[in-house]
């Protein structure tokens, strides 16, 4: 979720008057109709309902009158700002450390932060709860030794877990910026009389800052829309996303006044943030003519040791949840009680024989949504990048809209639009697939556009000039070149779809629990053993395809 649209990056202007073959014009019109239906209508529905339902002005009067809501707004903004700050500090530090120094075990720095993006947030939250919650392993162990930990619920837990979930975005963004940075710029500055420190302050930092800031903003908006951790660890703390979901549950079947008001508020804030980013940070992004990065130096001295320890701690905290879930899944449990130190496969057996449905649901919904999403992304990005026509900019904007929606808000919009009315999709599997596809649409289109930009137009022209009709040329020459990129995008889409919770939680009905919904509900009933088993299966579904793709098929996932 980042604010860049693919707009404005179309092919060279001289293609403007080229033949626009009819098939693509028709496909574009179909795509626009689909985008209006599945993206624009849900948003409009939310906005309209927030003003028309309830007793006058939707829930806005109640929002101002009840302190709970204003409180939640304040908490959410403060939390998002703090999390963005902490995540930025961690991410930048780790990126600096990884790019400037040589040390044994450096490969861990390329793998482990990524794992934080792959392990579903739900699992991370659950694991920290098992460790530091009221009944957590560490809490009890420390209590036995006589140390009383403050409660992890609310602010402390949120400020611990959210940065650990989000710092990899900053880390990867900063690392890319540092890699592209042309160290000759620093040399140029020093040759012009700047001291090395001044060169770094005045040349390096300003050129890298925009890339870093845009990832910080991403973290801000992710935290603002965050439902999962906010519900599991935030608990009594009033925050926007959980409150929106509660309002949705309370108004189920009734007048959607409060949910649409809160949803509108969250759309407005994220849209504002994205706009600000577009007009400030993005304006200041620089193209490096050539990137000759620094040669990494040796790590030494006391400061080196301190940095190494801190970096190791971050990485440890990143993978700890996965380790804990593995242990928990194989630990003997009776009801909610985990018998630490005693291992058994009983819980696994219970889950697989008792209720394997969530696994099947996740596979069915996830694969369907992934396939549909890939096809739509390829078609839409082709229209936007290669076959521009007057409708293309509109389509470009429409498909990027879901960026401004948190999962909960998107779910509410989809339910309002498709559950009843002429669609009557409430309670069907289709509505879950719709929610998953729309949620991933901006990412899918952006990665497919990236691939298409790297394929020169002349390739297709060459095929046409050699006697192959245009549409066939596209399918025969351009599409095969997109395959590796599409495969990478599809796998990343799959990973996020598998772990998706907040939007599917809003739209699902009984019998359609996915793995993440199942884990979420088990955590709340306290059946942590079972939750860990489902969670481990969830992690496996995310990690195994990545391992196979990168090891066996040599797909390059993270460039």
């Amino acid at each position: 979720m980042s604010a860049q649209s693919t707009l404005g990056t179309a092919g060279p202007a001289r293609r403007a008057g080229n033949r626009s073959p009819w098939p693509w014009v028709i496909i574009t019109m179909v795509a626009v109709v689909l985008a209006v239906t599945f993206v624009l209508t849900p948003i409009l529905n939310i906005l309209i309902r927030s003003l028309t339902s309830g007793e006058g002005l939707g829930g806005w009067v109640r929002f101002v009158e009840e302190p709970k809501y204003l409180n939640a707004l304040g908490n959410s903004l403060l939390l998002s700002a703090l999390v963005a700050l902490i995540a930025t500090v961690i991410g930048v530090f780790l990126a600096y450390f990884a790019s400037r120094y040589r040390f044994p075990g450096k490969w861990l720095f390329t793998v482990l932060p990524l794992s934080a993006l792959i392990i579903p947030e739900l699992i991370v939250a659950q694991a920290w709860l098992m460790l530091l919650g009221n009944n957590g392993v560490l809490t009890r162990w420390l209590k036995d030794v006589g140390i009383e930990l403050p409660s992890v619920y609310g602010w402390p837990g949120m400020l611990l877990v959210m940065p650990l979930v989000t710092y990899p975005y900053v880390y990867l963004g900063t690392l890319a910026a540092l890699r592209n940075f042309d160290s000759q710029l620093e040399e140029a500055a020093t040759s012009l009389g700047a001291s090395p420190l001044a060169a770094r302050l005045k040349v390096t930092i300003p050129t890298i800052l925009p890339a870093v800031l845009s990832t910080s903003i991403l973290v801000f908006s992710l935290t603002l829309g965050n439902f999962t951790t906010a519900t599991i660890i935030g608990k009594q703390l009033d925050l926007l996303a959980p409150l929106t979901y509660t309002a949705f549950l309370a108004e189920m079947g009734g007048d959607p006044a409060m949910q649409s008001t809160l949803a509108t508020l969250s759309i407005a804030i994220i849209a504002l943030v994205l706009l600000l980013q577009r007009f400030t940070v993005d304006r200041r992004r620089y193209e490096m003519v050539q990137g000759r990065s620094w040669a990494p130096g040796r790590l030494r001295g006391a400061s080196g040791a301190v940095m190494a320890v801190l970096a190791a701690l971050v990485l440890l905290a990143t993978v700890l949840p996965l380790g804990l879930v593995v242990v928990m899944a194989f630990t003997k449990s009776s009801g909610p009680v985990l018998k630490w130190g005693e291992f058994s496969l009983d819980t696994f057996r219970q889950v697989l024989t008792g209720d394997p449905q969530p696994i099947l649901n996740t596979l069915a919904f996830g694969l369907t949504a992934c396939a549909i999403g890939v096809v739509i992304s390829v078609v839409v990005s082709t229209i936007i990048v290669k076959k521009r026509n007057p409708l293309a900019p509109l389509l470009d904007y429409l498909v990027m809209f879901p960026q401004a929606l948190s999962g909960t808000v998107l779910g509410i919009g989809i339910v309002m639009t498709f559950a009843g009315g002429i669609w009557q999709l409430g309670g069907t599997a289709i509505i879950i697939v719709i929610v998953l596809v729309v949620r991933r649409l901006p990412h899918g289109v952006r990665s497919a556009s990236g691939i298409l930009h790297s394929i020169p137009d002349s390739i297709e022209d060459a095929a046409v000039s050699l006697g192959v009709p245009p549409m066939k040329s596209y399918l025969k020459v351009v599409l095969p070149l997109m395959v590796p990129g599409i495969a990478a995008a599809a796998i990343l889409t799959w990973v996020t779809i598998v772990g998706e919770l907040s939007a599917s939680l809003v739209v699902y009905s009984a019998g359609q629990e996915t793995l993440s919904i199942k884990v979420f509900r088990l955590i709340f009933t306290g059946l942590n053993g079972q939750a860990a088993v489902y969670g481990l299966i969830l992690c496996a579904l995310a990690i195994v395809p990545i391992v196979i793709a990168t090891r066996v098929f040599k797909v390059r996932l993270f460039d």
Partner: protein, 357 residues
């Protein structure tokens, strides 16, 4: 036998004409460069001939066939791109065979023709390579083989040499020239490099803002440019604003007197000139330097501001008494004049061209 006849062609993007009523006839077997700076419409013309761009008015004929409405893939053209546009996931052989497969050429014939084409461009040992494993010059040779193997009616090249370094550029340029003469295929060639155009062709079209500024043999264009634009674009030229004694109409080819500052000189009009303001164009090698003392020859006094020794030639930059700068290129045997020394710049009347614009 295919000539290319372009008739009143117009191409507009969003209301602006990129090509305005352009007409042009390229003879069968001709090698025809479209020369001009970027944005002048030469690539647009090429892409319109290819069929990638649909004109808003006018026609294009290949020989007797009107191809204006024929889609690219049925025009039977060979196209060579600036960035080679080789299919990166196919071998050299598969790249060259691509157009033949589209034409359903039987396997045995296909194989012979591909190998023939590769041999012709000097790439016969490379059939199994991937394009990634080739150098820029080799890639462009493969691209040329791919375009020629289908025996197209016309060969169209969009800046085929501009991604190559200067030495390779000359090599590939010569290879293209030899092949074209050997095959006698009508070829249109877009370039912004005047040397390429001069070296390769019998006739050149110089483009300006969507129209042909001047068309002719390389020496015609070099010796008798009809505008300062052409004079400046082809080769080096000294272009001076001058005044004619009156605004009488002068025919082209007339000998006229004009004044440059307070000196009166003589030149030959290249186009009809009817205003008092005009331009004098002289090539640096047409000018010569004389000592300030000798006043018998028609010339204008000035001062040397720069002196460059270029091996076979010596180049002086002279600031004229009017304040204008001119460049004078003389054989290296001419007297070397130090910077600051006063000189007289001699304008030969037959090689001083007077132009209206």
């Amino acid at each position: 036998m295919t000539s290319i006849v372009v008739n009143d062609l117009r191409v507009s993007y969003g209301g602006a004409d990129v090509l305005a009523d352009l007409s042009l006839e390229i003879a069968d077997g001709e090698f025809f460069p479209l020369l001009g700076p970027s944005g002048c419409g030469k690539t647009t013309l090429l892409r319109t001939i290819c069929g990638f761009i649909t004109p808003s008015a006018g026609t294009i004929r290949f020989g007797d066939t009107d191809v204006t409405r024929v889609p690219t893939h049925r025009r039977d053209i060979g196209m060579v791109f600036q960035d080679y546009a080789l299919f990166p996931d196919r071998s050299v052989f598969a790249n060259v065979a691509f157009g033949l497969r589209a034409r359903r050429v039987p396997a045995a014939e296909l194989k012979t023709r591909v190998h023939e084409a590769l041999e012709r461009v000097g790439m016969s040992g490379y059939a199994d390579r991937s394009p990634d494993a080739l150098s820029g010059g080799q890639r462009q040779r493969v691209a040329l083989a791919r375009a020629l193997v289908i025996r197209p009616k016309v060969l169209l090249m969009d800046e085929p040499l501009s991604n190559l370094d200067s030495k390779l550029r000359v090599q590939v340029r010569e290879a293209i020239g030899d092949l074209q003469r050997e095959l006698g295929i009508t070829t249109v060639f877009v370039t912004h490099d005047q040397e390429e155009a001069l070296a390769l062709s019998d006739r050149i079209a110089v483009f300006r803002a969507g129209a042909i500024e001047q068309m002719g043999t390389p020496s015609e264009i070099y010796r008798s440019p009809r505008s300062t634009y052409t004079a400046d674009f082809i080769g080096a030229a000294n272009i001076l604003e001058v005044r004619l004694p009156d605004d009488r109409e002068h025919q082209a080819g007339e000998q006229v007197e004009f004044s440059l500052g307070d000196v009166t000189l003589t030149g030959i009009t290249q186009t009809p000139v009817s205003a008092a303001e005009a331009y004098a164009v002289v090539r640096p090698e047409s000018l010569s330097l004389a000592d300030e003392a000798g006043t018998s020859t028609p010339g204008i006094s000035g001062r040397v501001v720069r002196h460059q020794y270029l091996g076979s030639r010596v180049m002086h930059t002279v600031e004229l008494s009017t304040g204008a700068l001119v460049e004078v290129s003389e054989a290296a045997t001419a007297a070397t004049r130090s910077e600051g020394s006063p000189v007289r710049v001699v304008f030969p009347r037959d090689e001083t061209l007077v132009l209206a614009s």
